[in-house]
């Protein structure tokens, strides 16, 4: 039943088959699109018509490959820069929140902590529509009062950044808090008794200890932003992020260039995951 106990051959084979089936289920969609990205056909699926790199490099009108598709490249650039700003903002605020809730005592702490965790259980749709409603009515009030049309309050690049930040900060807070729980508080006390200010003790003692978690949280926040669609779809303005662009292509005009993009995403993510895997292993 477990490593140290013997079990019947039937049990082991049945269990092994189940695990194999599960991981086949997991890998199958990613494997299928990765292979079909090289299919010499104008349709997204089988039959297999031979190997081609057209869906990456072709520049003809009939087959527009990934690298010549300017809309697609533009949406990737938008997604990367959005992800970058979301990661910076949420890493900053999420880390401050972790320090606040782990190390400080104050009134209404329980309520604030509950609010900070709320994005975990609020569906992304709800965050999207409520931020859209709020920014629109704020924009209308400002327009009525001052006659100004503020772009931030309409669906736009920065509204997407704010919307994604609103939930990404929670994940950063949880990741940094988890590491902070392992922190030996006597180190901070030692710094304080050596006449460091509270701020100095955080800067020179606590933050260096938290660094791996903060870097990890930054990456997670970037990925959350990069793949988000539920919140983004309501807030997006004239420059779509990659998922928004892909979504409308899947609905209205599927071509194998979708396979090519998906393959590149799978390739990037798998490489990152494998690097991370071996880095963790060698550090142990």
């Amino acid at each position: 039943m477990i490593r140290s106990l013997p079990s019947s051959t039937f049990y082991r084979i049945a269990y092994g088959t189940y695990v194999l089936l599960f991981f086949t289920f997991l890998v199958m969609p990613l494997l299928a699109i990765s292979i079909l990205a090289f299919n010499d056909s104008n349709f997204i699926s089988l039959p297999w018509h031979g190997f081609t790199l057209d869906w990456f490099f072709s520049t003809t009108d009939e087959r527009q490959g990934f690298f010549s598709d300017e809309e697609l490249i533009a949406s990737i650039v938008t997604s990367i820069s959005t992800g970058f700003f979301v990661a910076i903002m949420s890493t900053l605020v999420g880390t401050l929140a972790a320090l606040l809730f782990e190390e400080e005592e104050f009134r209404l702490k329980g309520l604030l902590y509950f609010l900070a965790l709320a994005p975990l259980v609020i569906p992304g749709v709800i965050l999207g529509i409520s931020i859209l409603l709020t920014s629109t009515s704020a924009g209308n009030h400002i327009e009525d009062a001052f006659g100004l049309d503020v772009e931030l309050f309409r669906p736009s690049y920065w509204l997407v950044v704010l919307g994604q930040f609103s939930f990404a900060a929670t994940y950063v807070m949880l990741l940094v808090s988890a590491r902070l729980k392992k922190f030996d508080r006597t180190l901070e006390e030692a710094a304080l008794s050596l006449k460091a200010t509270r701020l100095e003790s955080i800067w020179y003692v606590t933050l260096p200890f938290l660094r791996p978690a903060i870097i990890g949280a930054f990456v997670i926040a970037f990925i959350l932003s990069f793949s988000n669609i539920n919140t983004t779809i309501f807030l997006v303005g004239s420059d779509p992020t990659l998922p928004i662009d892909l979504y409308s292509r899947i609905r209205f005009s599927s071509t194998p260039v979708l396979n090519a993009v998906s393959f590149l995403i799978v390739l990037t993510i798998s490489s990152l995951a494998i690097i991370n895997f071996f880095a963790n292993r060698s550090s142990k």
């Binding site: 039943m1 477990i2 490593r3 140290s4 106990l5 269990y15 695990v19 599960f22 997991l26 199958m28 969609p29 990613l30 299928a32 699109i33 079909l36 997204i44 699926s45 089988l46 039959p47 605020v93 929140a97 320090l99 606040l100 400080e104 104050f106 609010l115 965790l117 975990l120 259980v121 609020i122 569906p123 749709v125 709800i126 529509i129 409520s130 859209l132 409603l133 009515s137 704010l162 930040f165 949880l174 988890a178 509270r198 701020l199 793949s227 669609i229 539920n230 779809i233 998922p243 892909l246 979504y247 899947i250 998906s262 995403i265 799978v266 993510i269 798998s270 995951a273 494998i274 895997f277």
Partner: protein, 289 residues
Amino acid sequence: MKNSNKNSFNSTFYLLIVPVLIWLIFMIVIPHIELLISSFQVEDDSGDLVYSFNNYIEFFSQKIYWLTFVKTATYSIAVTFLAFVVAFPIAFYITKIASKNNAGFLILLLVIPLWVGELVTVYGWIVLLGDHGVINHFMMSIGIINEPINMLYTDFSMVIGLLYMSVLFMVIPIMSTLESLDDSLIEAACDLGASKWDIFTKIIIPYSMPGIASGSIIVFMLVIGDYLAPNLLGGKNSLWFTEQIYNNFLTTFNWNEGAAFGFLLLMLSSGIIWLALKLSGQNLDKVGS
């Protein structure tokens, strides 16, 4: 000296709390109050907003709306249960049966689909399940079937998509509780002649209850609030409540009705999550970790 130290403590405290307050008040609290207020407003004939219960009355009087609501809730609970059934043996395998190296590799395989993102994986299922998709093509070429089976744009494909994107969030919390389960408990039960079923229901399941509870809550929330799988994999009859909200906001531009639907969805999901927390005796902050 003591005084200045105290000042530095205070200013650090404000440095920490002010950004956090700005985040929580402007991005979480005010938007949800606005959502609630908007849901009680309708446009009158001259285009002005007036307070009214019409959006909610509309929800209860149109069968399609509340039927979709009920269907979304029941399907979400069913998918959560399915995710538990599928995930538990995998979590157990990775923590208790696989060797350390294999376990690391399997975890790697588990997280890749999560990081790749839902849109790409949903697209992968479109490619696999379509009438001319990979699975039909494969089964026809080896002669199991003669006609393609209609799998895409049905409840079946929708459930596959929902399960696929959420199952990982069930595996990981269960794994983290199982990791702390001492193997000797199972060995002892085995030595004393307990059957596998008894060990499973009386030791392993009760022990991993906290993980199961947090996994279920996260999976349920993700499934009930999902849009891509029902929209891209579900058929015409697989309406999901989030799709009603999207339609109100992005197609018919009836934002106030959309706000009411959004608020109902929020009440439904937090109601069921609250119930699950009470029943399992968990806290929200445990779910997060």
